[in-house]
Amino acid sequence: MEIKKSATAGTMESSDVYVEIEPGAGTVEITLESVVKQQFGEAICAAALDVLAQQQITSAKVHIVDRGALECVLRARVETAAKRGGEEV
């Protein structure tokens, strides 16, 4: 899948995560805002990268605003944003 347009998923509600995705410049870049960035930032980014890899996305800019989401919620929102912004190639 290729990210063709900007898209978002999720909300800023507690236990959720807000994900913005847009076409990238050849790689996957992730920026993260989270109150637990220090403790869990690496794990959050790893989970997001895994979801994008499963969708076969190799180029994207992703901005994540974490509001205390569990991993299953984060994965769901990244997948949703990717599908909203993407097109099958």
Partner: protein, 293 residues
Amino acid sequence: MRRSLLFLPGNNPNMLINGNCLGSDAIIFDLEDAVAPNEKDAARILVRNTMKYMDLRGCERIVRINSTDTPYWKEDLDTVVPCQPDVILLPKTGSATDVLLVDGYLRALEEKWGMAENTVALMPLIETAMGVENAFAIATAAERVCALFLGAEDLTADLQCKRTKEGKEIFYARTRLVMAARAAGIAVYDTPFTDVNDDEGIWEDAAFAKALGFSGKAAISPRHVEAINSQFSPAQSDIDYAYEVLDAIALAKEQGKGAISLRGKMIDAPIVTRAQQTIAMAKALGLGREEEA
């Protein structure tokens, strides 16, 4: 055991992840009325992930998909069935044809994912006049139909009358559904009590549903779960009486007696059947006799 069924909005992570801590016997992940049209995709992925990754042991997992007159229902099933929900709740079920349409689609998905046929049960939600009229045909339309479920809000709109707390306007629908479900040998669930701030009214409404013969009742608020569980659980006095009945029957058999009375009343087949049902429920709740534990 399915006394209470709690609706949870399918696009609300905070509610979903805490679903099995709210005390209900079943959780209904709602992809329909609780989700805006532009969030249907997000909700079905979130519900799928909740079922896939969260340990919801102790809670039956029901998914209310969108109705078959929307463009969403097939994708709802495509997304959630691989996670083996226990039940699919089908809104706006008006006829046996509606049931067979979804039954066929479920069978194809079960085959695709290597599941035994009828692994996923189906619960038609009756919320139209047509559905009430066709209740028995719906209840017996497919082997996977496990229960009927009354939805009074949409029904009263279809009946062109007001939905009231007293519920006179849905009395016929309630008893009709109980009759149809019991004739079909399946369970039947009452509509939610919609005043989330009336902590007394829910007890009365749940008691009334129990008295009419419902198997349990839905809830839209966690605050209603305790009342529903309590009303649909056998009282200790009922459990004690049930054991007395079965003990009396056993004694009569030993003594070669064909008929026996207990507390001045003849014990006939319906009384024995009710006693067996009460004890089965008691055991499921861990309230059976100590020596049976």
